[in-house]
Symmetry: D2
Subunit: 134 residues, 4 copies
């Protein structure tokens, strides 16, 4: 296993890459022993669904859920983890306000990890490929 | 049922709203009788996963799948349709190039529609709420 | 809404029908106000995956998750509710022993309900059609 | 990789184990090079949803989808493959008649395989753990 990922490194990873930079997520908290993470996604005008709707489009919500699930395992395993698959449930329209997501690792196996993600007005579950690339 | 949505209207809906404008999707084709749609998502630098990786981040792919599934039902039913849930399988890393998605309606019931979406290097299926709002 | 379903009626529904009778589930607890339910599925030899493996086949586990999700909404809404779709995550092989499932309603909307299900060595989430048939 | 699984062996595997024996599936066809399989599940009275409904319970349909997805990869890879997760969409009530399922491999990677399953009145997709156990 790689060296544990520090607070600084996890924040850096969350900011790394052009799409993450576009989203603008903030690491609120994480627990590397439990494989949990809390991430905030502040509202920005490009996230709006329809003009003057003040509702979030589902796209940034899905991305937040995917990333929160992924980073729960990144915090636990100390390295990058690709997403295998994802289920997103949109429970209610999310109105313009910051979103947060809590990711909780259900399992971190040799080749597959599973994470539950709770988000305001939605819910998700993802599977991620934990096998180190060779 | 609302009046059928014209080619013009479907293109307009696909461009409407700030998040759609950010994505920049193009309607390639659609069949209102069958409930199918083909949409292209041209590459833009903000979609990159990691700097210089030339790989798509999963977020825009998930959004494309959601929207292609949704618009297959919009073409068929002639009105806006909210997403209930979404299942995404990432099959391979998608390298910098334009993406396309084909959405095919499997079922358009009284309260639920189901659409299969094929996308380069991925696959998705979504359920959508077809009950007209009152 | 139909009249609330009584403890007796919920037990009767859980026993009704040939497939439920084959499974042999037991209602442990339920809360009609919260839309939660706890169900036990005692081991029977027909559930075994491979001869002498003493492991559960995934089929009865999937059925238990589906039914626990469904009955959380049945308890809440007081009538039968068809399943729209289901995701099952098998977290670990389940060894011969009674299984239990806890279903917790996340949302009970006009046309769709969503329930999270926790089960020994697995997890599930289902969407169910809450629109009364006419 | 293990030696290719013969027609005889695949039929034997499909009959092996108490739960498979209860279901009573029949191998109709398979293609080990493409990773496809066709399986029939004949009706039996224990599969009925409600007395005199003549409708299939979702449980045996979910099990058929899981097994058809699994055996598409078993045919391709020549060894047993555990299920990671499973997504089931129930499109219409299935009335008393034999069911069949077609499983088509979308991807067979080093640690994860993905299979699309088509079934009368439903659809499914499963992820399976392809990493050989050590």
């Amino acid at each position: 296993m790689a060296a544990p990922i520090s607070n600084l490194t996890l924040r850096e990873l969350l900011a790394a890459g052009p799409f993450h930079a576009f989203l603008g997520m903030e690491l609120l908290d994480y627990d590397p022993a439990a494989g949990t993470v809390a991430i905030r996604l502040p509202w920005r005008p490009e996230f709006e669904r329809l003009p003057d709707s003040r509702q979030w489009h589902g796209g940034p919500i899905a991305a937040l859920i995917d990333i929160a699930g992924d980073f729960a395992l990144v915090a636990l395993l100390g390295r990058g983890i690709p997403t295998i698959n994802l289920r997103i449930d949109y429970l209610r329209p999310a109105i313009e306000t910051d979103l947060w997501a809590i990711g909780r690792t259900l399992r971190a196996g040799r080749s597959v990890g599973v994470v539950d993600v709770e988000v305001k007005d939605g819910a998700g579950r993802g599977s991620y490929a934990t096998l180190p690339s060779t």
